[in-house]
């Protein structure tokens, strides 16, 4: 087209050019406008407005900047722009609940937001500057913010050791290990867990009918008021063996298979016939058996349901040992005798101590249990099963593997299977798209998935082999927290560096004490350097606390120290030599560094000092409100009648200085006493050397201690 005809552009073409020009300009304008009114700018403005109506406006706006704010920690791959809107997060004056979000300050915490960012704990999308993108699940971000009630899960991603600040996480981990989840699932950093009992000789222990009932009917239930609906089943406060969804046919097959398990014949299962003959004339056999049962403090470990009127309550017990209410209708007589004689003969790993009982004692106790702790109606509902047929046993053997029984119970014929259930080591960071929700009508997110799996596995997956766990909501939340903390391997070396590993806690004494430690199963009740159970006192510092002589005496004849406690150490009938070996080990090896009983010269505790101590004890510090001396005082703390023989002066001094250092969590108040006061109180306390009626110490009222000079 010649230049002269330039102005002859058609009307259509001009229109098209004009429209496209306007469209381009419009797109540019819209883009600019969107940038201008970005969501985060609105929060920036409203923070300024909010600060202006507060008295500390200047302070709040001292570091205000109208641009995007972020915490940038490249080595941890953190770029968190949360503080762009959450502008009050580090401002202490915005801590109270009346401050509107997103301006509220963070509650007091252990990690500074500026050093750690936000998403490391809270998850969500740190890079985002829009509310929906930052907090939720969107098309381009599948790790939404972690609901606050599971926040402790984030502690657990790094802190593999238990934290006292994260009780829900600790409880969840406890449940993971006590429910023995790692029998079927791979779990990061698992705590040692207890397997179910070895069943290789279970045919000697119980009848097929009892196995049938155990597998097919609901267990003993303890409701929230503590009322017990007994069903003649073992229960451990909470169920340990979960409910498997078994058909009648499957229960028959499994009971047949298990009743044939008789790998190791029972040893020493007979009582001397002469003893039996002697007792046949003795009418108070069962009464004596009951007295012995009580005297042995069996209920320290074992639950027993006690009926009052028309309701029954659980008494005693702890999670380590089975309920015994109807044990007489469960186990065979020969098995019970053999078991009571030597528990480790049947279950080598059992933590039940071996009591050196004579045949008479054994006969009394076993007859009491078989006749009084029994219920003749227990197996009434079990259909006649007859002898186990070969076909049933074969089917039972197959089921034993298929249902995962072999993962918790040892059997000579089978071994545990690896990778039975899904790997859970990275369960906590799974996205919704990685989970199979099936047809379940639940929210499509990780928390809902885990919780419905815990409450009813079949809801999510009909074919799931996972059994039913009867957990309350708090425990489901705890397990959810523990699973959410399973975040797989650290994503970077820097993050790996932050992981606080679990402290290995095991205690293996050496020398002659090793035999005693295993023989009496000390760890079943006591803690040794963080290893063991917490039924009895922690013995990690026993050597600093008690003189050797006292320990030996106590082991020979245990008695309660705390009158408020209904537990006491069982009477082991320990030989003198064993008691001395144990006392020697405890006194020399189990000491708190810096609290050496030898280091305190008791000659410095004069009687003048002791009378000052008495004043301090009775008047200034009011110790008698918790402790009893000579029948006077409270029952909260231990009885101090024999504090002079039971406690070393070094321990008393260290205890008065800082009780929580010696026993974390003790309720003994820390009073910031002066050195002079501590010495006076120690001088006073070591004067009590009352060794009156040891069995009833704490109740007697006659032993008024007298002040003794010198303390020696």
């Amino acid at each position: 087209m010649p230049v002269e005809e330039m102005d002859k552009l058609s009307y259509k073409l001009r229109l098209a050019l004009a429209v496209s020009t306007i469209a381009c300009a419009l797109v540019l304008l819209i883009s600019l406008f969107n940038d201008f009114r970005a969501e985060w700018k609105h929060y920036k403005d409203s923070f300024v407005k909010y600060a202006q109506i507060r008295p500390d406006t200047k302070k709040l706006l001292s570091d205000y900047s109208p641009s995007v704010d972020q915490v940038w920690l490249p080595e941890m791959n953190v770029t968190d722009r949360c503080t762009t809107c959450h502008q009050g997060i580090t401002k202490p004056s915005l801590a109270d609940a009346s401050v509107p979000q997103p301006f509220c300050a963070h509650p007091p915490m252990y990690h500074n937001a500026r050093d750690w960012g936000c998403t490391i704990c809270h998850r969500g999308q740190g890079l985002a500057t829009e509310v929906a993108e930052a907090h939720g699940t969107t098309q381009s971000w599948e790790s939404p913010i972690l609901p606050a009630r599971f926040l402790q899960a984030s502690c657990g991603s790094c802190h593999q050791d238990d934290l006292k600040e994260a009780p829900q996480l600790t409880r969840g981990r406890e449940l993971l290990s006590s429910l023995n989840c790692q029998a079927c699932h791979e779990i990061n950093n698992p705590a040692a867990s207890e397997l179910g009992p070895d069943l290789s000789s279970v045919g000697y222990k119980v009848s097929r009918a009892w196995i049938y009932k155990w597998l097919s009917e609901p267990r003993t239930v303890v409701d929230q008021q503590g009322n017990v609906t007994l069903n003649g089943y073992e229960t451990w406060g909470q169920m340990r063996m979960p409910g498997f969804r078994l058909t009648e046919q499957e229960v028959r097959a499994l009971s047949a298979f298990l009743s044939l398990q008789k790998a190791k014949p029972l040893e020493m299962s007979k009582i001397d016939p002469s003893v039996v003959a002697r007792f046949s004339k003795n009418g108070d056999l069962l009464a004596r058996g009951e007295a012995r049962f009580r005297q042995m403090m069996c209920t320290t470990c074992h639950y027993l349901a006690v009926g009052r009127a028309d309701e029954s309550k659980m008494t005693g017990g702890n999670t380590a040992a089975p309920e015994l209410t109807k044990v007489g209708s469960k186990v065979r007589e020969e098995w019970l005798v053999a078991w009571l004689r030597n528990p480790q003969g049947y279950l080598p790993d059992s933590t039940m101590p071996r009591y050196d009982w004579s045949d008479e004692q054994l006969f009394e106790v076993s007859q009491y249990m078989l006749n009084r702790l029994a219920d003749s109606h227990l197996l009434e509902n079990v259909p006649p099963l007859g002898e186990a047929t070969e076909e049933e046993a074969k089917a039972g053997r197959r089921l034993f593997r298929e249902k995962g029984c072999a993962n918790c119970h040892t059997l000579t014929a089978t071994s545990a299977q690896r990778d039975f259930g899904p790997d859970l080591t990275a369960e906590g960071v799974k996205t919704a798209s990685e989970l199979d929700f099936g047809n379940a009508r639940i929210d499509h997110n990780l928390v809902a998935f885990i919780q419905s799996k815990m409450q009813n596995p079949a809801l999510v997956n009909q074919a799931s082999r996972m059994p039913l766990y009867d957990l309350n909501q708090a425990d489901v939340d705890a397990v959810t927290t523990a699973l959410l903390s399973q975040t797989g391997p650290a994503p970077s070396a820097a993050m790996q560096h932050l992981v606080v590993p679990r402290r290995e806690s095991s205690f293996e004494p050496v020398g002659p004490f090793a035999r005693i430690y295993q023989r009496y199963k000390c760890y079943a009740c006591h803690l040794f350097n963080r290893y063991g159970a917490t039924i009895g006192p922690d013995l990690s510092y026993e050597g600093s606390r008690a003189p050797e002589k006292w320990i030996a005496g106590f082991l020979k004849n245990p008695r309660p120290i705390r009158s408020a406690s209904n537990l006491r150490m069982p009477q082991f009938n320990m030989p003198v030599k064993d008691a001395e070996i144990a006392a020697d080990f405890l006194a020399t090896a189990m000491q708190k560094p810096g609290v050496d009983p030898e280091s305190v010269d008791s000659r410095q505790f004069t009687s003048a000092l002791a009378s000052t101590g008495k004043q301090l004890y009775e008047v200034k510090n009011q110790c008698q409100s918790c402790h009893t001396i000579g029948g006077m005082g409270g029952n909260v703390g231990p009885n101090l009648d024999s504090s002079g023989t039971w406690l070393t002066p070094a321990w008393i001094e260290a205890w008065l200085r800082n009780p929580q250092d010696l026993q974390p969590g003790t309720i003994e108040p820390r009073r910031n006493l002066s050195d002079e006061e501590i010495r006076a109180l120690t001088a006073y306390l070591i004067t009590f050397r009352h060794e009156a009626n040891l069995r009833t110490a704490g109740i007697h009222a006659d032993g008024v201690a007298t002040l003794q000079g010198g303390g020696q």
Partner: protein, 248 residues
Amino acid sequence: MGASFHSALQSLRATRGWKSIFRHNSAVTNRARSLAVRGNLLLHWLPVKVKDRSLRVRTTYYLGSMSLMLFVILVVSGVLLMFYYHPTTPQAYNDMKDLRFVVTNGVLMRNLHRVAAQLMVLLVFCHMFHVFYRGGYKPPHEFNWVVGIVLLLLTLALSYTGYLLPWDQLAFWAITVGTNIISSVPLIGNKVRFVVLGGHVVGESTVLRFYVLHVIILPLLAFLFIALHIWRVQKDGGLTVASKDDEG
């Protein structure tokens, strides 16, 4: 308006600056005009003489020109995006987030680049079909048809290499699937795939490879072939204008 535009142009052509750039005066004869075009670097790849008919919308629908304009838009927006992009993982994805959330007009730039790229693939295909059905591959245009095929492949390669760069799930799996197809080539398939990915799986070295291809090698080749393509249009006697257009 036409007259004033004309006179303004005339006076502009008389300025010293204009003359120093274009070397020639406003030519009056056709011969002088064609010499002026040929003697100028910026104009020489344009046809010396354009038939009125070939400028009508219906003749070409401007499909080739629009593809060229999209290429220019892609280069400009792509260069702007390069200021924010790191070809490393997982930073690449974080850069997408930065463009989305904090870079001024970042969303516009990204979407412009994305939409223009998709539109360019579409228009290049339309252009090809149009030329094909108009018989534009026939002599003397057969070489330029082949150049056009090369340009189509370059466009597709640019599009494919750019697809990985956001480093999101879509990108990762598209490239994984795409390169697995390569590995089904007999004998050399796996080796070729290894070279393309810089490893056995799509990873950081793949991102780097695709980035270099996407921002240097392929655009440079595309630029050379586009220049060749347009230059050959005029060398081969201008646009293919069907006889029915001649009549129309």
